[in-house]
């Protein structure tokens, strides 16, 4: 892993977690609405999560250091959502529907159960993405640039 990859990996995780936390704040009433630019990235990440074929964006976002790391955070968000849903396969549909509704519509239109599910999913994804910054990974500790 090159220094650039390592730095951008941290940057992508950071963007992804910040977007999720802002969504969480909206869901628990600390913020009024989800930012439009956050919505775009969240929707893109869901598109990647549900995609049946390889998207051009997925390919591009796999390259560290190229393009916008903010846009590329969609890939990390998608990976995080995927991992949480794999662990809670029985609640997959409810989780996904609640999250989609939270992103696509005003948070106020969600029922309390939906808000609670979406908040739980968002928080779990935050923790999953955070746990990927595992310093015990030797590739992370010793960046290889050549």
């Amino acid at each position: 892993m090159s220094h650039m990859s390592l730095l951008e990996t941290h940057a992508r995780y950071s963007v992804a977690i910040s977007i999720l936390n802002r969504l969480r704040h909206a869901l628990i009433g600390r913020a009024h609405a989800v930012r439009r630019e956050d919505k775009e990235i969240l929707l893109e990440s869901l598109e990647i999560t549900e995609s049946e074929k390889l998207l051009g964006k997925m390919v591009l976002y796999s390259f560290h250091g190229f393009g916008s790391h903010r846009q590329a955070a969609a890939l990390e968000l998608s990976d995080g959502v995927q991992k949480v849903l794999e662990s809670f396969a029985d609640k997959r549909t409810e989780y996904l529907n609640a999250l989609k509704k939270a992103i696509e519509f005003e948070v106020q239109t969600l029922g309390e159960d939906e808000k609670s599910l979406a908040t739980e999913l968002v928080t779990r994804v935050m923790y999953v993405i955070d746990s990927q910054e595992d310093v015990s990974n030797p590739d992370t500790l010793i960046p290889r640039d050549l």
Binding site: H3, M4, L7, N21, L60, S62, F63, D145, L146
Partner: protein, 644 residues
Amino acid sequence: MSSSISTPGIEWEIARSIVDSEISKINDINLQKFPKFICNRLQELGQKLKEKSEQVVDRPDLIELKSQINFVSQLIDLFLEASPSRSSWWAMPLIKECYERCGIDYSNRHIVIIHSISSQNYGVCADVLGFLPDDLKSSVETDQPVDVFIIPSEAKHDIASIALIGHEAGHVYWKIKYELLAKTLNEQFDKTYGGAASSSSGNLADKRKRMASHIQEFLCDAIGRCMMGPAFDFALLKLFYSSPDDQNTSSKTHPPELSRIHQSYDSLKSFHSASKAVSECLGKLVDHFAAFEADLKSFAKNADDLFSEQLAESIHEATGLASPYDDQYLSKIWCSVVAELNAFRPPFESVTSDVPILISPTEAVVATSLYYYARFFVNENEYYLHTKVEEKQRFEVLRMRLCEHLRYAISLYDFVKNSQDRFCGKSLDVKELNSSLWPMRQRESDGRSNPFVVTPSTNPKSQYSSNSVDLRLGTSFLLNKTSGYTHISPEPELTHATGAGIPLEAFYQELFVPVGNNFILHPHQFVLAATLEYICVPFDYYALVLGRSSWGRLGLNIATATTVHAGFRGCITLELRNLGETPLPLKVGLRIAQLCLISVPVRPTSDAHVGYFATLSKYIGPVAPEIPKIKDDEDWALLNSLSQ
């Protein structure tokens, strides 16, 4: 994050403690001499983190702050490793030349070089501040990207590894040209792997990430090859030769080393030159790695590795970047550089009495790599041929000095190029210099080359007169510092009961000041400096270093030991002292001294040309001030035996 809290909770405590540690690291960085805008930017970053920490109210908020700190900490650690005053900033002109050859406009980018003592590898982070999270970005946006290059301290002792900078420049190139990369990649990935997505999307995602990383490495190798030709291939092979890793398999981020060895080995074999000497040297470079032959024969690339390699090749072709290292170019750079190396001079320029021809950093790296690793110096290098020291030491001194000379020539390239563009181009009529010492640059005595050389040439018309040459203040300084020792002792170790064995290094601190910057010499302060120019004194002359009267009137004394021996090669050490009562800013690169040439009073003998190297002089070819080597004097043993 919520902003109203009444009593700070445990989340606030945790947040402040992790932020405060980053702020204290930022304060350390600000003590160093980074460009002001970087210091300001980091200071502002610390302030923003502090504000964010005030808003943390629950655990997820802490997770968000921690993820931002993870990034910021990585960034700060990079800068913490850099120390502009003792760093690898010598590489700046080489990086700029690589940028230029790739078509990157470096006037719109800031380059920061980190002299890494912890990493053994080169590295780069292109547009490093561009990765900052939006809410930590500067309110005063800088429109210039900052590229951070990491250069390991090993580079000081390894001629070959310098060529690896070409690979790192490749990472910057592809960061800028990602659209070209994206277009080709998307087409090819869809064509090759698109259909398989639905059945194993998880595996495919991993494969995609893995291959994306591998392709980047192949692409950057291709750029390195364009920048540094055979020197890059040799450096990469040398790097992998000592690699303990399994060279057959790939890692998450890198293709199998044997894939890259294959490419570099083939590439190195493909170089040819119109010059027989260069062709022979190229052959010898290949011979070093004959051990790879067997590994390569048994190495079979898997389909994914082959796909990555071929895709990288086609993408590289689309860049239109071509290697300039054809037969003619290799011969040309060899001729100009090797003459300098043979004469034990840094490869600044082709030294003749005509208009000087500048040698670029990449040319110097390529030719010096060939010269050293093909052992061409054995029969040609003046130091190696004439010194009387034993074989192993002779080899070691040559290796060390070649490395220093190469780095020194690279470090001054921008200054020399700008000076020569202004003063040595078409405007320089060398006939006008005929009555000065300039024609002595190309001179023979008794059928041997015996020139008086002051290199690099920056402004000959103003520097040369009929009996002297003005010299500039160099970039390296040795400052006296306080130490835990009671006194400074010049004696060698274990010869005397009192005070002997105190390392002189403990009393000196190295400082690097780039050309154009000031070194402040305080009243009565004593420092060792060096001339910027490298001097070769003929064997039938000696020289005196004298101050310039204008500086003397300001209180500057430049030397106490003023004689330069016949045959000397190197930058002359100056013993600067401010005799005045006010601090003196000395701008590095200014003319500060003059060198007067005086004929030796006795007729030189037939072997006088080897005299300097054969005398076992303690100061052979230095490019920076060196600590006193008086302990090497033979007299100590005699005098100490008498005292006992």
